[in-house]
C-alpha cells in the first residue's frame, strides 16, 4: 500500500504533466518551466524534483500521450471493421488532442532526440493498427498494391497538412470540419 506521501507525490507529478500539456498546447514547446510552474501553482523547484530536466519532462509527457493513444486505438483493428471506420477512429482520437498534437507535429523537428523517437513510436502504434486493416483489405483485393509505408505516410501527410495549415481552411477544428472529406477521398485514392 502506498503511503500518503507517495500518493501526494504522484498526484503532484500528474498535475505538472497535465499543466505542461495545456501550456505546450497553447504556447508551444518553447514555453518555459517557469510558466508551467506558475500555471500549476507549484514552485519552480518542484518541477525539477519530479523531472530532472526539461527534456525529461517532455519525454515523460509524450510517453503518457502515447499510452493514451495506444489505449484508445487498441482493439479497433481487430473487429473486422472497415478502413473507413479505422480512419475515422484515428481522426477522432486526434480531435480529442488537436491543439497539443498540432503543436507536436509542427515542432517535433526542434524537440530533443529522445522526444523524436517517442514521436516515431507514437506513429508506430497507429501504423500497427492501420497495417492490420490494410493487410485485410489487400487479402480481399479491395485496395491497390501500394507499399504499406506509402499508404501510411500519405494518410499522415494529408492529416498533418490540414492540421499544420488549418488557418487556410477554418478558424475552428479543421479535423472536425474536414474529417469526412479527407477519409472519403483518401479511400478513393487507394481503393481498387
Amino acid at each position: 500500500m502506498k503511503t500518503k506521501r507517495q500518493v501526494q507525490k504522484e498526484a503532484t507529478r500528474l498535475h505538472i504533466l497535465e499543466t505542461a500539456y495545456q501550456i505546450y498546447a497553447e504556447e508551444g514547446f518553447s514555453a518555459t518551466t517557469n510558466q508551467i510552474a506558475k500555471a500549476a501553482s507549484v514552485s519552480h523547484g518542484t518541477i525539477f524534483v519530479h523531472f530532472p530536466t526539461v527534456e525529461n519532462l517532455i519525454v515523460c509527457l509524450l510517453d503518457d500521450f502515447n499510452a493514451e493513444i495506444n489505449g484508445q486505438l487498441h482493439g479497433l483493428s481487430e473487429k473486422n471493421e472497415q478502413l473507413e471506420t479505422f480512419l475515422e477512429a484515428h481522426i477522432n482520437v486526434l480531435i480529442r488532442y488537436e491543439a497539443f498534437y498540432k503543436r507536436l507535429i509542427s515542432e517535433v523537428n526542434s524537440l530533443p532526440q529522445e522526444a523524436k523517437f517517442v514521436f516515431i513510436n507514437m506513429q508506430s502504434i497507429v501504423s500497427f493498427h492501420f497495417n492490420q486493416v490494410i493487410e485485410r483489405c489487400k487479402n480481399e483485393k479491395t485496395v491497390k498494391e501500394i507499399p504499406m509505408h506509402i499508404i501510411f505516410n500519405s494518410w499522415l501527410g494529408l492529416v498533418h497538412y490540414y492540421l499544420t495549415n488549418s488557418y487556410l481552411f477554418t478558424e475552428g477544428s479543421v479535423l472536425t470540419e474536414y474529417k469526412e472529406e479527407l477519409i472519403c477521398n483518401f479511400i478513393k485514392l487507394i481503393e481498387k
Binding site: D63, A67, N70, G71, H74, G75, E78, E114, F117, V118, I120, N121, Q123, S124, S127, F128, F130, N131, P147, M148, H149, I150, F152, N153
Partner: protein, 82 residues
C-alpha cells in the same frame, strides 16, 4: 488492465494474451507459435522490420526508435542497464 511486458500493447480481451491466457504477461504478438515469449533479439528485429515496412524509416533510425521503445518495457530492462 494489463499491458504486454514486451511491447506495451494494452491487453483487454482474452485474445490479446499469448495463447489466449490472461495469466500471461505478454501478448499474442510477442509469443512464438509454442506460446513462449520471443527473445530480445527476435522482438527487436521484428519491431525494426515492422517500423521500416509501415513507416519507411531508414534502418538506423528505426533501430534507434525501437531501442528507445524497448528500453522502457519491463521485459527488456536488463539489456539497457548502464
Amino acid at each position: 488492465m494489463k499491458n504486454c511486458i514486451a511491447c506495451g500493447m494494452p491487453m483487454k480481451k482474452e485474445s490479446d494474451f499469448a495463447m489466449g491466457d490472461p495469466q500471461k504477461d505478454y501478448c499474442v504478438y510477442c509469443a512464438r507459435p509454442d506460446g513462449s515469449m520471443q527473445s530480445f533479439e527476435e522482438k527487436k528485429q521484428g519491431l525494426i522490420n515492422f517500423t521500416i515496412k509501415t513507416q519507411g524509416l531508414e534502418k538506423s533510425v528505426a533501430e534507434k526508435a525501437v531501442a528507445n521503445m524497448m528500453s522502457k518495457l519491463p521485459a527488456w530492462q536488463e539489456y539497457f542497464k548502464k
